[in-house]
Structure formats: C-alpha cells, structure tokens
C-alpha cells in the first residue's frame, strides 16, 4: 500500500511538471475566468435604452397607457410622441430613433368592441441586433399590456399584435419570462465551463503518453492501472476545484448572482462532478489513438450535454424521448445542484437524487476506464 501511494504521487508529480513546463497553468486557471466573463456577458448584456418614437393617432387613454409602459422600462428611451405618420421616415433615416411604434386611429374603439386591431412596430434594419432586441422587448411589453387589459380575451388580442412574429415572443418568454436571465444562467455557466476544462484536459492527458510513445515504458513497470489513472487525474481535480472557486466568486461579484446555500457543500459536490468529468475524459483517452481523436470524442460528448442538460432549454419542454436521454447527461445533475445551492440554498439531503446519480456515474466511468485501460496493455 505504501508503494502504491508513492507511485500515485510520482505520477502526480510528473503530471504537475508537464503542466508547468507546458505553461498550462495560467491557461487552466485564467481561461475559465475569461470564459465566465464572456459567457456571463453574453447572457446578461441586454441591449438597453433603445431610442423609440411613438406615433399616436389614437390619442386615447389606452394608447397613453401603452406609451407609459414603454417609457417606464429601461430598455427603451422614449424620444418623441408624434401624431403624424410622415415623421416616421425622417426620424428613422436621420437616425434620431432606432424604432417606432405606431398606434392606429381606431385603437381604443376596436379594443372596446373586442375587435382585431393592428399595431405597427418599425425597426431600423441597419443594426439587426438592436432591431431584434427592440422587437423582442416591444412584443413582451405589448403582450403584457394585452394580458393586463384583456385577461379574459387574450386570444382575441393575440390577433391585435399578429404582425409581430409569434415565435420571438414565445422564445423570449420560454427562456426568460421576466427578461431576467442572469441568476439562472450564471450557475449553469459554472457547470458548463467546468465540463469543458476538465473533460478536454483528461481526454488528452493519457493519449499524449500514447502518442509520444511513453505509455509502453510505463506498462512494463509494475505500476497498476488505478495508480496511473488516479495519479494522472489528481492534479486536474485540484485545478478543477480552484476553477470552481474562481468562477463562482466571479459570478457572485461581477454578475451579482445571489448565493443562498453552503459554499462547502458546493465544493464537495463539485468535486464529485469534477471526478465524473475527468473519468469520462480518461475513458475517452483510453479508447483514442491520437489527441485529435480524443478531442473530437470529447466535443461529441459535451455538445449534447450543453443542449440537453437544462442549461439553455428547460427539460420539461422537451419531447418525452429526449427527456429520457437527458438522464444520461452528467451536466444535468450538476446544474440542478448548482442552481439549487445558488438560488434556493438547498441542502445535501434535498439534492440526494442528483448526488446519487453523479455517484453512480463516477463509479461506472471509473470501472470502464480501468477495464479499457487494462486492455490497451495488450
């Protein structure tokens, strides 16, 4: 047992030397933080203060109510209210405003009668980002406005805004009903970054020894497969944990995500998730002949993890068959754990199903990697 431990430490030490000599350390620690900043920025940077002009030809209490909705949110800056449709062209071409909401003369009348009416929402096509963001926010405001007045006649009012693409409204609402994504997205991003860093690294580490011809030299020594594999992943467990701490802190400080739970619990369960990721990566490494092959296999495994883990799309909205498939995505469980600890302050017992799933996963990948590795010994 003593020699076993010292062999694991030898491999560990050698791996650390590889990391240092290869100047990998800054990359392994800095890259995840940068990823956090970039991903976090993408999901949280909503385009705000889009200048808008309203052409109100209705001049009614309903139209004023709708206008107030637009002037009360920080997404729009209401520049002018006009009652002449001819102003639209000049305002847009001169660049005074990025979008225009046009309310027809018979707006109030038709609403009262419960008839179909049309609002026009015109955006400046020259900047598609701003244009589509404006359209998105605009539709949500109109949608909420319609809900407010016509809570009983929603369907009918759907026609009122019929010219605004339904899909954009729906998507926006599915993702993020309150236009507030940061809190749920940031914990997910932690899981995502962790899986990218740890799985890729682990999938490369063993196959490198194969490619450079070192593995034979190791196999002729009395080292046991578990000693070699454990020694090799040990440094990355530590690096993975450091990454979790850094990106969690970055998430909390920079993106102001609430943290309701226990940080120690988060670390312990992250350790489990890291082990699973490294195990899968190592398994990929044992069955790959080249680094390129390993890299592609790792990507092949990570992509469905991103899409089917509930990170972007809620699992409950997926088709039944796909929902079953999500159960084999380790990231699914880790994201529940992350969101649970971050946003709800869940305890170990409350997360027991996810912990059990990850634990079984860890066991299975360890056995698979060891089995497969023995075989490559020939």
């Amino acid at each position: 047992m003593k020699t076993s431990k010292s062999r694991i430490l030898k491999i560990f030490h050698k791996e650390i030397l590889h990391i240092i000599r290869g100047r990998m350390l800054p990359l392994l620690v800095v890259a995840p933080i940068l990823q956090m900043l970039v991903f976090g920025d993408v999901v949280t940077t909503e385009i705000k203060h889009i200048s808008i002009m309203v052409v109100d030809r209705s001049l009614s209490s309903y139209s004023r109510l709708l206008i107030s909705k637009f002037s009360n949110v920080e997404y729009f800056d209401l520049k002018t209210v006009s009652n002449d449709r001819n102003d639209i062209q000049t305002a847009l071409t001169k660049g005074d405003v990025k979008c225009v909401l046009s309310i027809p003369e018979d707006f109030e009348e038709k609403i009262k009668k419960g008839e179909k009416t049309s609002l026009q929402f015109i955006t400046d096509g020259s900047n598609s980002n701003v244009g589509s963001a404006a359209l998105n926010y605009g539709s949500i405001i109109i949608y909420n406005f319609s809900k407010e007045i016509f809570s009983d006649k929603m369907r009918q009012f759907g026609n009122v805004i019929g010219h605004i693409p339904d899909i954009t409204i729906e998507e926006r609402i599915l993702f993020n009903p309150e236009l507030k994504s940061t809190d749920t997205m940031i914990p997910g991003i932690i899981g995502l970054i962790l899986i990218i860093v740890t799985m890729v690294i682990a999938s490369l580490s063993l196959v490198k020894e194969k490619e450079y011809g070192n593995i034979e030299q190791l196999i002729v020594t009395p080292i046991k497969p578990y000693e070699l594999l454990l020694g090799k992943i040990l440094p990355y467990i530590i690096i993975g944990l450091i990454d979790v701490i850094f990106i969690t802190v970055a998430g909390i400080l920079i993106f102001k995500v609430p943290f309701m739970g226990n940080i120690l619990l988060l670390l312990v369960l992250s350790l489990l998730a890291i082990f699973v990721n490294l195990g899968i990566g190592t398994f990929i490494s044992t069955i790959s002949a080249t680094q390129q092959q390993a890299m592609i296999s790792a990507m092949f495994f990570m992509l469905p993890n991103m899409l089917l883990s509930g990170f972007i799309f809620p699992i409950k909205n997926m088709p039944q068959v796909i929902q079953y498939i999500t159960y084999i995505m380790p990231l699914r469980y880790y994201i529940v754990i992350l969101r649970g600890i971050f946003l709800k302050g869940l305890t170990f017992m409350e997360l027991l199903p996810e912990v059990t799933a990850l634990f079984i996963y860890a066991l299975v990948v360890s056995i698979l990697a060891l089995k497969k590795f023995k075989k490559t010994v020939g």
């Binding site: 491999i11 590889h18 000599r21 290869g22 011809g213 070192n214 002729v220």
Partner: protein, 310 residues
C-alpha cells in the same frame, strides 16, 4: 541442469491473420548477451514485446525467471528493464527528472544514491539538468538506458539501442552492456549493425517471423557459409566492374558487393581461384587494388539468408 533466465517455447504472435512471430523456441542463460538479428519486419520487436508483457502471445509459452508470462506478468515486470525501439523519454522533463520518475515508479531503495551512481556510470552528469528534448541522439539513448536499468533488473531487453548513434558512442554503450552482463544481468538485444553482433555471446537469426538459427557467431558463420571468401578490392566504377565480375566462369556460390569490395564465396582451391580471378580481371581490364582471403562476416550470412528465402 543449466539455469535459464528466459525460456521461450513455440511462441507465435499473430496480428489478425498476419503472423509476426512464427513458432519460435529458444532459451537465454543467466548473464548471457543474446543478440537478435534480422531484417526490418522480421519480428524482433514483436518478440521482445511479448517477453516484456506488452503483447499477449497467441500461442506457446514464455517463462521469465521461471514466472509464466500469462499468469505472473506483474511479477515479471518488477525484474525486467526495457528500452524500446521508439524514443520514450518525457521530452519536457530533465534527464534527472526522467530517471528519478522511473526510480520512484519501481520503488528503488536509496533512490538518490542509485540515481547518482547510474548517472556517473553512463557519463551523463553534464546533462543532468538538461531538458531531454535538447539532448543529442547519443546522450538520449544513454538516458533511456539509465531509466531502463535504474532498478537493477535481472533481465534487460534492448530494442535497437544503438540505432542512429555514432560508432564511438556505440562502443562506449557496448562496454557498459558487457559490464552489466558480467555482473549477472541477462541481456537480450536486437540490432541492425552486424559488427555489434560480435559483442554477443550468442546470436539468433530471425527472418519473416521464424528463428532461422541460434548459436555462437563462429558456429553460425560456418554453418551458413560453406566454402571460402575471396575479396576483390576494386579501384573504380565499383558497380559496373562488379557486374562484369559476376559473369566470371567459375563455380561461384555467391557474389556480392560491399562498398568497394566484392565478396566471392566459392568452393574450389583458394590459390586456383585467386589465379582465375586475376586472369579474368586482366582480360576484362578490371582495375583492382588487392585480392585477399577473408572469413565470412555476419553480413555475408545475412545476404545469403535473404537471397535463399526470395
């Protein structure tokens, strides 16, 4: 009964349907240097890999220090050293770190003293803290030898250890190997260089997966080449003159060109043959420096061997 370090009985190794090693049997005595000779693709590396436990034999039995390779391969691994044909050091580690790593993996006692000793023995002190990637080929090979011998194995497998190393360093290398053998280490070494085989106690000739012969060098030379060898050292146009010489009318068993020297293996009386060749050269105006008698070399055996097969 003599004690054998390695016993190989009817060993066969197949890759799919291709037979790389075909029904080979041989024994290696303790403290012996056995040289494996054979052309590229003969099956030398495959045989060594089976003996090291890197490959599982398809058929046959292998015993290393009386341990059965199929059952006790892990025990075997503690007592063997292996220097692979492919370069296998960690290029981003220093010489010292490479050696220390393997010392740790083998659990060597008095580690630092042992490392110091082997570094001195192989005369690589000045490179101790050099990153392996920056070493010249000859030094790399010695570092590889150090990592393979750091745990003082009973048996050392060396797969083309001197490939690409200059002759002076090769001689140094062999001096060390011989010393270790004298101290009781059994050594199985493959090589391409014919002259190196002279350093071995016995040689095994391998061709197309088969063991053609095994024995002491002189014994094998005698067996494979009956008759005497006459050497004609040409002055110019070696290939052209060689082709003319080939047409000589006398019972020649084999004729081959080695640089500027033509080897003629034949059966008739040596003086008579010499005269015939001289006369022939005169009529064909072949310019030569010298005609002399020589013992057959392993190279002659080799060429002979490969010709016979094809």
């Amino acid at each position: 009964m003599e004690k054998y370090s390695i016993e190989v009985q009817n060993l066969t190794k197949k890759f799919g349907t291709f037979t790389a090693v075909d029904d080979i049997s041989f024994n290696v005595k303790e403290g012996e240097i056995l040289g494996f000779l054979g052309p590229n693709g003969a099956g030398k590396t495959t045989t060594i890999k089976v003996l090291c436990g890197l490959l599982i034999p398809t058929k046959g039995d292998v015993f290393v220090e009386n341990y059965d390779i199929r059952k006790d391969v892990e025990k075997i691994k503690t007592i063997i050293g292996y220097m692979s044909q492919k370069f296998s050091l960690y290029t981003d580690l220093t010489v010292y770190e490479n050696i220390k790593f393997y010392a740790g993996i083998y659990g060597v006692d008095r580690e630092e003293a042992k490392i110091k000793e082997i570094i001195e023995m192989l005369d690589i002190e000045e490179y101790k803290n050099t990153i392996t990637a920056e070493l010249p080929a000859g030094i790399r090979q010695r570092v590889a030898l150090a990592t393979a011998f750091i745990h003082s194995p009973k048996i050392l497998f060396l797969d083309e250890p001197t490939a690409g190393v200059d002759p002076v360093l090769r001689r140094k290398f062999w001096a060390i190997i011989k010393k270790w053998a004298q101290q009781g280490t059994t050594i199985l070494v493959t090589t391409h260089y014919m002259d190196e085989a002279e350093n071995c106690n016995r040689i095994a000739l391998i061709n197309q997966g088969k063991l053609v012969d095994i024995g002491e060098i002189d014994e094998i030379k005698g067996k494979f080449i009956k008759g005497n060898i006459l050497c004609v050292e040409l002055s110019e146009n070696y290939v052209k003159e060689f082709n003319t010489l080939k047409k000589i009318e006398m019972p020649v068993k084999d004729i081959s060109l080695h640089g500027s020297i033509v080897h003629i293996i034949q059966d008739i009386d040596i003086e008579e043959a010499k005269k015939k060749i001289k006369d022939y050269c005169k009529t064909k105006e072949i310019k030569y420096k010298n005609i002399f008698e020589d013992k057959p070399s392993l190279e002659d055996i080799f060429i002979n061997l490969i010709r016979k097969k094809s």
